[in-house]
Subunit: 126 residues, 3 copies
């Protein structure tokens, strides 16, 4: 089994709804998004998936969230913007172009700080 | 599958027994404890498990080990205080309140330095 | 399930062949090699595998690649020196002495930068 990992950052504001104490106030994080694809076989070029290409997809997604209020991002406006929900949102947007490429699974981790992240991992369907 | 991760630090002394060279002398580490819970489903509030709540549990455990000699901590006094044993000790203390909450598994990693850790990962029983 | 992790660094040059843009020019990285062994049972000495011993094996392998042109390293000379290929090369060299020691699997991650790695993970055969 092989993995390829890339990471990107974005600065965003958000606030939680519900019983989350100070996190219900508008605040922000320097988010770090970590993305891993997994698969069984390297191609003839020696890659599982071109790191540069994966990096462009991940950086593009991070840019679309940079200096935004996550509570106002379409696709996140209706949900509680927990790190889990942001990971889910990013997973759904990164997965489609990765399907049918011989990859097994995709992991998206959303770090809110150096000491906390939430992640979604699921199979891609080959 | 979703994950939530938090980390905490503690400063502790220990020494190993057996064929471990300089590590048999009393020394210490700035330990980093990383804790991950895994589960399949987000709750209505958009969380797998409240990061703040997990952080309080992990920070409390780290505090209980801070500025201690691990070889004198009850529950570690009878074992070799390898990073594996410390991970096992922390796993057993963190797991009980996490059971029956829809979580699948718990990982505890104990870093002795930036370049070395040991971890225990096991299912929680839902 | 327990894990033991160690890391080491090496400085090396390489270049890719094929459709990889600027990465086809000779360049270099401060590579970080992360190695994880997994297994089910701790020994009587409280270790899954001696971290110091694993560290010596990993550091020795890293030293053998330090200040080298990866495209000229025997065993890598015939392949595209992607991070996946370097992970595969290192996996094959670390695995043999780890077999038959009660370990289940071995992971080798090769970081080309803080934001990108490739990894190989496979069972060791106990």
């Amino acid at each position: 089994m092989f993995e390829v990992y890339v990471a990107a950052r974005f600065e965003a504001a958000h606030r939680l709804l519900g019983d989350f104490g100070p996190a219900t106030r508008v605040h922000g994080h320097t988010y770090r998004m970590e993305v891993i694809v997994r698969g069984r076989q390297l191609g003839d070029d020696g890659t599982l998936y071109d790191i540069g290409k994966l990096n462009r997809a991940v950086s593009g997604l991070a840019s679309s969230l940079d200096y935004r209020d996550l509570n106002e991002v379409p696709g996140l406006a209706g949900v509680n913007t927990t790190a889990e929900a942001v990971a889910d949102y990013c997973w759904e947007r990164l997965a489609p172009p990765l399907r049918g490429r011989g990859l097994d699974s995709l992991v998206v981790r959303i770090w809110e700080s150096r000491d906390a992240y939430a992640a979604r991992e699921d199979t891609l369907g080959r």
